[in-house]
Symmetry: C2
Subunit: 382 residues, 2 copies
Amino acid sequence: MLATNLLAVTTTPVQPSEPAVLHLSQSVAQLTADLVDIESVSGDEARIADAVEAAVRRYDSLSVRRLGNVVIARTELGRPERVVLAGHLDTVPIADNLPSRVADGRLHGCGASDMKSGVALQLRMLELIGTGAVEPALDLTWLFYDCEEVEAARNGLNRVAAEHPELLQADLAILLEPTNGGVEGGCQGTMRAQLSTTGRRAHSARSWLGINAIHLVTPILARLADYRAREVEVEGLTYREGLNAVFIEGGVAGNVIPDRCLVTVNYRFAPDRSEAEAEAHLRSVFEGFELTVLDSAPGARPGLDRPLAQRAVTALGGQVAAKLGWTDVARFSALGIPALNFSPGDPSLAHRADESVELAQLERCEQLLVGFLSASPAAATN
Amino acid sequence: MLATNLLAVTTTPVQPSEPAVLHLSQSVAQLTADLVDIESVSGDEARIADAVEAAVRRYDSLSVRRLGNVVIARTELGRPERVVLAGHLDTVPIADNLPSRVADGRLHGCGASDMKSGVALQLRMLELIGTGAVEPALDLTWLFYDCEEVEAARNGLNRVAAEHPELLQADLAILLEPTNGGVEGGCQGTMRAQLSTTGRRAHSARSWLGINAIHLVTPILARLADYRAREVEVEGLTYREGLNAVFIEGGVAGNVIPDRCLVTVNYRFAPDRSEAEAEAHLRSVFEGFELTVLDSAPGARPGLDRPLAQRAVTALGGQVAAKLGWTDVARFSALGIPALNFSPGDPSLAHRADESVELAQLERCEQLLVGFLSASPAAATN
């Protein structure tokens, strides 16, 4: 069965000048390949957004909005609960990995894992519900957005959340970021901070006249090397923190005692801590040193205290782990919407030239999602 | 007297198109100003070398050689001992500090300290001896050379030492590098080495899957911070060593555990150690870490065990200190010629935009040098 699917996947050379066409009735594997073959590096999503919008507008039962390169489709069935299926259309830059190709039961190509396989799943759900092949137990919102792989100010989800939060309102969001086919709840926060030491320059032939700012960094690195990161349970999930130097830089010339050394640290913190608490923690770890927060993003609680989230976990395989990386679930969390991560992509292959997704995993995730969306609440919680 | 001298100094706008003319009968202060006003950044010494050569060729009693931009003049008086007076003609790049100007009893301008004041002293000695105003107790060799401020391969003294070592043969060399008017013996060696740590990259959200190469640097910095540098007595002079990080560099991206960190250290070592011994010492300090020697230069013993060097010290003020920075005295030392550093320049002002030299110091150094060169051995050692 798998072999048949593999042979059925055909790939398309990139032809950026012509409009791209998506056929949602195809297999999820073929749809993933078609999406991968539409080049859509961050900032250049118009063509893929056009193709998604055109495909989505074919279903009369859905209301569709286009906001820049964001496409939103909604059912209006009057169901008591609403779920958002969210995914970004952009990829990191191409790394000689287009067009897509099938090998060893996997589809290879830029965005195969992060996250065009997730977008293909979104579109497959839309086809099945839009054509009436699946009768949904919930109202649904599909969100396809741009510029996730770049700075937050350009992020399409961020923009919609700020300008049209009513379009995102829901009881649960499922973000189709790579999770290897499992469910991952919430996400950890992230903070980058810069530590600096200040010495005094001198000629290195008379080093005692100076103060070596690189040597002064020793206790900063010792505290990092000795740091024992917390493992924190939040709503039954274990989040494992981390505190690491990601950059170090110092030096003036080969014969000069350096007067400045900079260490950039990245703190990944569990969602029981706010950004303010994370900063206070860093200031306590590095007491005595100058510290400047460079940027940060809050974590998101998994929201597993809500019945709908629990039903989703049960339907999507019954297992849930803590999401350790930061994802856009935090943006939903900020709107008060619990959010889970779920998709067939492999997070460890994201952003790599050899990015790929397992085709069998695609099929499995499609079946699980259909099960969740069509199941009656009573059946799903058994 | 000083005031008269100050007023007597006139400065000349730079006119690189015309040949420069040096009048050696002027005061040492005026001669320094004239030399400073001939721009001669390393690699661009032809004009100043032409001026020096033309000035030097006026004295029939001297034999003169021109080798590239090196000028060598020698007396051939049949004296039992010979002294080299050596100085480089080049400067570091101009820093909006030309033409020269006099203020607060100092001559300001590029090279005023390092080392056109020294070259002016060389030329003044040549004038006094060449005209017979001073009867020298010794034979003399004047060496004016190019490209001291740049890589060793271009250094004019280095070239003459390799191609015409016979022209440098002497019983003592006095290098007119800045010493603040004191005598400094020998010089320390210098070695730069790179230490590296190797970790394993990982996403910083799952830092325990990686090994942080910046954290691994902790013991290297701790050993540097705890290092107690030797103070070594060599021929009665105390050399103070130093071992310092001069560069540190590590980091891949703000969300990646870095797999590599590089620390460059500079070891300044007393002349009782060879380069091989210095390297062995570094390898023992940093045992367990990858170490690569980037470059090194040997130190030079002060040569104070020789009677002529002792007479020079006595005549030039009676005080001698260890030279801690590396200078070209090591090149003489490598030829078996003891060498001292002596000139009015202030080493702490070398290479600075506000470089200057004290005019009173110029006069004093001229008198001391005349005293040494004209004194009989018996008188000088009293």
